[in-house]
């Protein structure tokens, strides 16, 4: 490299540095710091990067799986319409029951072993805790209401895996569910520790 070439490079580097150095002074997001915190995050903690990466490719699909699909599919996976108790608030609300409700209430993402797997847990913009789940044939997002039920926000059918194993990875959530997660998440997904604390606190 000739002398003048070297000087030119130096000037270019200085100009580039000025253009991109702002990020160096920004606080590093917690989700990135958490990846490298001790102890190592549990293997089954949600891969939010994969979720986001998938979700970004799915904007065109976001409209897919609207309320009609939710209602139809919701009934397929063992949910029921909550009886209206007359105050109007429950009307039309789909709530999780049975093993799904149990998993949503009790199961940690790191302990997926039963018929239902739970992936992402997060606090929604409206303050409710929400969790994504999968069964052998469906996937969905449910949020816990003040009265203790898990209201289904989005449900989609999934193709049962050939091995009969559960689809546990957040990255395998259907687009409609990912879109619902994305639309309602207030900040970041809960890490394993926060998830446990939220569960132990009754999701309040």
């Amino acid at each position: 490299m000739s002398r003048s070439e070297e000087e030119l490079l130096k000037v270019e580097r200085a100009r580039m540095a000025a253009a991109f150095d702002g990020v160096l002074k920004e606080p590093v997001p917690e989700r990135l710091k958490a990846l490298l915190a001790e102890p190592a995050p549990a293997a089954q903690v949600v891969d939010l990067g994969a979720v986001r990466a998938l979700r970004r490719g799915m904007n065109n699909w976001a409209a897919w799986g609207g309320m009609a699909a939710t209602l139809v599919l919701g009934t397929l996976i063992g949910t029921r319409l909550a009886p209206s108790d007359g105050d109007g608030l429950d009307r039309g609300r789909l709530v999780a029951t049975g093993s799904i409700a149990h998993a949503l209430e009790q199961q940690l993402a790191s302990a997926n072993a039963g018929p239902v797997a739970v992936q992402i847990s997060f606090k929604a913009k409206d303050g409710r805790y929400c969790r994504s789940f999968t069964t052998n044939a469906s996937a969905g997002l449910a949020c816990r209401e003040a009265d203790g039920v898990w209201a289904l926000q989005q449900v989609a059918a999934t193709v049962p895996s050939p091995t009969g194993g559960m689809r546990q990875a957040a990255s395998s959530l259907p687009p409609a569910v990912l879109a619902a997660v994305d639309a309602s998440m207030a900040g970041e997904a809960l890490n394993a520790e926060q998830e446990r604390a939220a569960r132990d606190g009754g999701w309040r």
Binding site: L8, L9, V11, E12, R13, A14, R15, M16, A17, A18, A19, F20, D21, G22, V23, L24, E26, V28, P29, R31, L32, K33, L35, L36, E38, A40, D47, L48, G49, A50, R52, A53, R56, G57
Partner: protein, 164 residues
């Protein structure tokens, strides 16, 4: 070797600001850039055995990021996603100084470069790697880095006028 793993973890954590900066040169949005850092860190942690102590950790991480970004671009292509650089969410207010304005113009110009050109610009001009180090990070011959950087600089000149 929990101790060395722990030390490596710590070293990667210290690199996070620079990884984020490299991400900003590669990706089209802040969120994409941080997602890319996250994916790269996750990948790095699953293959710490491939890291050779004594070599540059930053180059190794940049290489993982660059490969992850190429994977992401290919995946988007497969999904048929048209992908245009988004407008930076920055407003040039009345108070913007000449330096701030210049920084915005430079970032916009870099965003218009091809993916290959952005990678060499990010490594050599922003991160300050030597041509040799950049070649290793990109897994290409040094001559390729030299020629890509030359073309990238020409493109920047065309976009920015007087350059530097």
């Amino acid at each position: 070797m929990p101790d060395s793993l722990s030390a490596l973890r710590q070293e990667i954590a210290e690199l996070l600001p620079r990884l984020r900066r490299f991400g900003r040169t590669l990706a089209h949005s802040r969120e994409d850039a941080d997602d890319l850092v996250q994916v790269a860190v996750e990948k790095a942690l699953t293959r710490t055995d491939q890291w050779t102590p004594g070599t540059r950790l930053d180059s190794w991480m940049f290489r993982i990021m660059q490969n992850a970004w190429i994977d992401e671009l290919r995946a988007r292509e497969r999904r048929g996603q048209t992908f245009l650089p988004e407008e930076e969410g920055e407003h040039v207010g009345e108070g913007a100084s000449g330096a701030q304005l210049d920084a915005i113009l430079v970032r916009k110009a870099v965003a218009k470069l091809s993916d290959e050109h952005r990678a060499v610009v990010g490594l050599v001009l922003v991160e300050g790697l030597s041509y040799q180090e950049a070649a290793e990070a990109l897994d290409v011959p040094v001559g390729t880095v030299t020629s890509r950087l030359a073309r990238a600089r020409e493109a920047l000149q065309a976009l920015l006028g007087e350059w530097p």
